[in-house]
């Protein structure tokens, strides 16, 4: 208990004193996961709508596959990412191992199945009359797509939030693909692990509390921005 209390004090001190390591890690956590979720949103919404509205061979299989991948462990993505991005690996020429872009790539893989599956579910659940009406009113494919997205916006926002929560707090990919390099690929979650290993427990508690605080803030902001939709 004492550890947590001193962690809270330490967290405040670190923030007030503008600790370079904390701000660096926090900023990296934010931009890496935001970039990954933005890319995954574009991919996931496209694939999700396609799966919900188009009929083609193997569609059911793809839907099941994406749903299954929602539970993929981040350590597995980290490990596979490492194997692919290593200098000897098939994508070694990209030189993405131990870079923040490598983490982004891994988190995109983490987030795409989540956004795809939840978007697919959301659009699939739309009232059948919506596509019919749109078509009857003469909407082209692009316009119909926009209609689906705007009608299913709540499940899609939840999909993005879920993906963000998972990416922002994940450890496996950041540790294995990023390597926890100081001022290069260190995130708040890898910092927490490191400070624990070093025996700096109150710093570790502080780091994870900052992680929690930012995660809640961003979630609340997204929720506020989209609040009008819930009424």
């Amino acid at each position: 208990m004492e550890m947590i209390l001193s962690g809270i004090t330490e967290a405040i001190q670190l923030l007030v004193s503008g600790d370079a390591l904390v701000f660096d890690a926090a900023w990296r956590s934010i931009w890496v996961s935001t970039t990954a979720v933005l890319i995954a949103t574009i991919l996931g919404i496209s694939i999700g709508t396609l799966l919900a509205r188009r009929r083609f061979l193997g569609r059911g299989l793809l839907v099941t596959l994406f749903r299954g991948l929602m539970g993929v462990p981040t350590v597995l993505i980290g490990l596979i990412g490492y194997a692919l991005l290593a200098r000897q690996g098939p994508l070694g020429t990209l030189e993405l191992l131990y870079t923040p872009w490598g983490i982004v790539l891994g988190e995109v893989i983490l987030a795409v199945p989540i956004i795809t599956s939840l978007t697919h579910g959301g659009i699939k659940n739309l009232d059948r009359r919506i596509p019919e009406t749109a078509r009857m009113l003469g909407a082209g494919p692009v316009q119909r797509w926009k209609t689906y997205l705007s009608e299913a916006r709540l499940p899609i926002i939840l999909a993005i939030l879920t993906a963000f929560a998972r990416c922002f707090t994940e450890l496996g990919i950041a540790m294995m693909v990023g390597g926890n390099l100081k001022f290069k690929t260190r995130t708040l979650s890898t910092s927490t692990t490191l400070e624990t290993a070093r025996g700096e427990f109150s710093r570790a508690v502080a780091m994870s509390l900052i992680l929690l605080a930012i995660a809640i803030c961003i979630t609340v902001v997204i929720a506020l921005v989209s609040r009008e939709d819930e009424s």
Binding site: W101, L149, R198, G199
Partner: protein
């Protein structure tokens, strides 16, 4: 969420993002000689020694350094695969094998400290001095609890070597492998009131946080030698041999020796340089 009037902007953003991502991918070329990748044991990073040595190195040599802190076994693997340019490791036997298999081009011990066998004061062994192998044999014979790193690190390799030298096998029910770094392993051994093997540097850092104390031992078996190895440059096109050599020479220099000798944690010297 997506009012229709925004969708054009969103498409623009998508294109921008995609291109930024692709640019990020090939911003670095194959023959980039401005980067130096170092794989090091966790003890040198966690003690803070690298925070003293690296800035001094980059004062003269302007490289973009990446420090990957892992156990010695993992560091040697990274070297073997050509993922890094230079290694700091502490497992003499494994290093010899690494050099014999032609994975490294230069190898030199540059500093040392010692390992300590730690135990809970409640479980104090005989007060008279034992050699470390006698102490290990005693732990095994009396089925006393022992916590091992179990992660193929330099400390783990040393522990296995000591079990071998003591000609005894720890009992499985009293032997726990953590698979974690030294700090975590120390905390676990402390909670379990068990014996464990630790490098002197990490012990000094954790001294105030744990009840474990060194078992009274003597003998040369506990020496802990750190070496620097440059990776064989033929492995692939990425290895920056020039920078690796410069780093190797730097660690073996008088300047680095002075920094290592003067480096203190809580008023205690942690490492002794070998190139005075």
């Amino acid at each position: 969420m997506l009012p229709i009037r925004y969708s054009k902007q969103i498409r623009h953003w998508a294109i921008c993002l995609a291109s930024v991502f692709l640019l990020g991918c090939d911003s670095s070329t194959q023959t980039d000689q401005s980067k130096l990748r170092i794989a090091t044991t966790t003890s040198t990073r966690d003690s803070g020694l690298l925070d003293v040595l690296l800035p001094e190195f980059t004062k003269t040599y302007n490289y973009d350094l990446s420090v990957i802190a892992v156990g010695t076994g993992a560091a040697l693997k990274l070297g073997q695969q050509g993922e890094v340019d230079v290694l700091i490791v502490h497992a003499p036997n494994a290093e010899a094998a690494f050099m014999k298999d032609k994975h490294g081009s230069q190898h030199s011990p540059f500093m040392k400290n010692s390992f300590v066998l730690l135990g809970h004061p409640d479980m104090a062994m005989n007060p008279q001095k034992l050699t470390v192998t006698q102490a290990m044999a005693k732990i095994a014979d009396n089925r006393l609890r022992f916590v091992s790193r179990g992660d193929d690190s330099g400390t783990h390799k040393k522990e296995l070597e000591l079990w071998g030298l003591s000609a005894s096998q720890p009992q499985t029910e009293a032997y726990t492998e953590t698979g974690q770094g030294m700090g975590n392993t120390l905390m676990i051994a402390n909670e379990l009131k068990a014996f464990t093997l630790c490098d002197a540097g990490t012990y000094l850092q954790f001294k105030n946080k744990i009840d474990l104390r060194p078992v009274n031992t003597e003998g040369a078996e506990l020496e802990n030698r750190y070496s620097v190895i440059t990776v064989q440059p033929e492995k692939n096109n990425y290895i920056n041999q020039k920078a690796a050599r410069e780093f190797y020479d730097f660690l073996n220099s008088k300047r680095a020796a002075a920094l290592i000798r003067d480096f203190q944690v809580n008023g205690q010297t942690l490492f002794t340089p070998l190139n005075q």
